[in-house]
Subunit: 322 residues, 2 copies
Amino acid sequence: MKRKIFLLLILCVPLSVVAESVLPSWADGATRDSIVAFVESVTNNNGPDFVAEPERIAVFDNDGNLWAEQPAYFQLLFAIDRVKAMAPDHPEWQQQQPFKGIIENDLKAALADGEKALLEIVMATHGGMTTDEFAASVTQWIDTARHPTTGRPFTSMVYQPMLELLDYLRANGFKTYIVSGGGVELMRVFSETVYGIPPEQVVGSTIKTEFKIVDDKPVLVRLPEIDFIDDKAGKPVAINKFIGRRPIAAFGNSDGDYEMLRWVTSGDGARFGLIVHHTDAEREWAYDRESHIGKLDKALTEANERGWTVVDMKNDWLRIFP
Amino acid sequence: MKRKIFLLLILCVPLSVVAESVLPSWADGATRDSIVAFVESVTNNNGPDFVAEPERIAVFDNDGNLWAEQPAYFQLLFAIDRVKAMAPDHPEWQQQQPFKGIIENDLKAALADGEKALLEIVMATHGGMTTDEFAASVTQWIDTARHPTTGRPFTSMVYQPMLELLDYLRANGFKTYIVSGGGVELMRVFSETVYGIPPEQVVGSTIKTEFKIVDDKPVLVRLPEIDFIDDKAGKPVAINKFIGRRPIAAFGNSDGDYEMLRWVTSGDGARFGLIVHHTDAEREWAYDRESHIGKLDKALTEANERGWTVVDMKNDWLRIFP
């Protein structure tokens, strides 16, 4: 009996030692164990699940998965701030929705037209300038804007456990990608410094750009026209287009990630899918099936059947923000 | 005087030693020196032109730049072979151009309708199957097909000096990308083994794909519809979309690369542009301003003014194919 316990101890020790040192903000338990077990299986080159390093690709949703998304997608907050900053150059906006509502801090009036209003706001603030000019406006915002309820910079609203997970995967030879419904050129401004993910590993929604030579100088002009929405069934399409091979691990938090999770976890060999379930109303927000932002319904229902790990944010994460 | 010569010798030796060992198929001279001087300047972290490693991105056209493109783009030869292979399942093609002409080896009749015929051939052979099925058909072709005039496998029609250049750049911390007008999913099948360029670093033309769940299994179906043509002004647009930062070096061989060369070499700091000029009718092919394939006119005219290096294939390359 003693011998058995001793053997069990020996077998268990390496796993928990590794887990505790590499994922310190993750609570001890089945969730963290599932991550560590997957990583150890695909990196063990004597095991049946070994995956060669170039194939170790992991994809991460951004909003609600790497950083928060409440009380509104941060990109919408950026767009609202941009409308206000641009308003002096657009006197006509004083009388014109959705801009009038934003300038008067009456978001309800601004968004009364729903999707049409949103699209107008995005196009006015994201199109009609060069790519360099847009990146400069994002940098300026990221450096100065504060989250409306926490007062933190938006880049401090990232999830510490996910930062540790990104590092842990990269330390094990994974290439980490963002695959987000958000605008790619907004995320690329901060992805390298905040997440350690370089611009070329960020896949997202795009608007059309046009190459022009102005005064003998080439520029790329952002057009007020949607190119691609990287959400839902668009995610596997974009993964195939941008990455060109099927990732072996996918991390998301909403039904917008359902198709990506299906695509990634139905490939041959060892696969890993994980859903961040927002269950912590005190330290973050609690929402799922009924939420307008980050609705998590179908993916949560099927998680067990599909073998996806579900993170209970309240109990699995010892810390939320850095 | 002797001292001066001695100093000159000391200064010159390191450059030529490096150059000879790293680019053995490049002739000694100004062309090779320009490459080595650029690489040494951006990797010298005490120099004024130093570029941090993540920003060392180099983009390469494929057809006529990394592999040959005569007597026709290899992708067209693939499509022609596919039509023949698929013909038994399409009895209607016996009476229907452009397929009839291909089956009867009458390319002139097949291509009589010009671009419309080409598009029909490409759509029939590149669309209407899953991404996995398409990749399998490319693999099968790459493994068995032979070039019509040299009898070599197509993957042996790559340029040895360019393979050395790719290795040399990567050894100096560069990330090498393909940015080609060719179909991205064709190149990705062989880019890693032949060029050392992984699928996720291949940018090219795309057709639309659709995510579907068939018998509870997710697939991506290739639709017979063009998504994006990665040529001319499309190249800087695609570079921005896929890579998200401006490369510091661009390598091309035709006017299809003009906008890419302009975009890359007009950025701040040290920049490098290079054009492969096909001047060797004996060992390869000689063509430029009047050619229908790989037309090189405007880019050649402006090369000097723009500071782009022009490779005279006949004299600058000691060897063409591996």
